[in-house]
């Protein structure tokens, strides 16, 4: 059981750790120092989170180092597709439901407000 490939090496762990710290601190600074306009901040921090996720998947979880058919990667990617459906689907349905549950008398005002249409 001395297959070092599966657990990586000390240097790969250090690279993963340093990259993760840099990504964490930079997304923190982008938000607290208001380095960008607020809708851009959200896109940037989500991108940095996804990048850190990839870094940790490679350097800590070793998702790239499996031999043979890469079942754990296959299972992981199918789970991610379910995750995407659950999250995007919920948000999509629930924002529509917000409109659909409103009395007709106020729904027009809300739609105009949300779409930025001035009367």
């Amino acid at each position: 059981m001395t297959n070092h490939k599966e657990e990586g090496t000390t240097s790969s762990l250090i690279i993963g750790f340093v990259l993760s710290v840099l990504l964490t601190v930079s997304s923190y600074l982008v938000v607290t120092q208001r380095l960008l306009p607020s809708d851009m901040i959200i896109a940037v921090v989500v991108f940095l989170a996804l990048l850190q996720f990839v870094v940790q998947a490679i350097f800590f979880l070793h998702l790239d180092k499996e031999s043979g058919p890469r079942w754990n990667l296959v299972i992981f990617l199918s789970t991610l597709s379910i995750v995407a459906m659950v999250i995007i689907g919920s948000l999509w349905i629930m924002t529509h439901l917000n409109y659909n549950m409103m009395p007709n008398s106020i729904i027009q005002d809300y739609i105009q407000y949300d779409e930025g249409i001035s009367k």
Binding site: M1, T2, N3, H4, E6, E7, G8, T9, T10, L13, G16, F17, S20, V21, T24, V25, S27, Y28, V31, T32, S38, I41, I42, V45, V46, L48, A49, Q52, F53, Q56, A57, F59, F60, L61, W71, N72, I75, F76, T79, I82, V83, V86, I87, S90, L91, M94
Partner: protein, 190 residues
Amino acid sequence: MSIKEKQERVTLGFWIYLMTDLLIFAVLFAVYAVLKESTYGGVTIHEIFNPPFVLVETLILLTSSFTCGLAMLAAHKENKKMMVPYFLVTLFLGIVFLAMELYEFAHLISEGHDWTKSAFLSAFFTLTGTHGLHILIGVIWITILLIHIKLRGLTPTTLGKLTLAGLFWHFLDVVWIFIFTIVYLMGGVS
């Protein structure tokens, strides 16, 4: 079947469990995203977000994931002298993280912002609390494994068990990246 092949199957099985755990977190994230504006006149995430505190929590958990990786590396080299201290540091950081999270919860509750006050607070406590509960289970699990290794020694069987606990710990750090980003940082923007 050799021990190694058997262990690979067990690890794959554990990986499938982790993926179902990921689905639990995905659902809780979806609930949080839907309910985060439903504050019922109470506090918003922007008001309860303490940036330096959460950054320290994040870095502590990240460091514990790193020391856990170092411990696993030492375990695979059958270097027990290096492995045990790294695992003890991992446990210590895990406990500090838990203590900080409990302090944050106690602080919120003492100011009257408990989970019964709004849909947002319910979703917030459920998501972060479920993650905290996983960390607690991880701490207990690694502690038991260390006692087990002290009694039985570092055998292929105990090494296999450690591999699963290590995977679990790294997984929890990955989930925390998204709690840090989606709950705290994105809450700090609006």
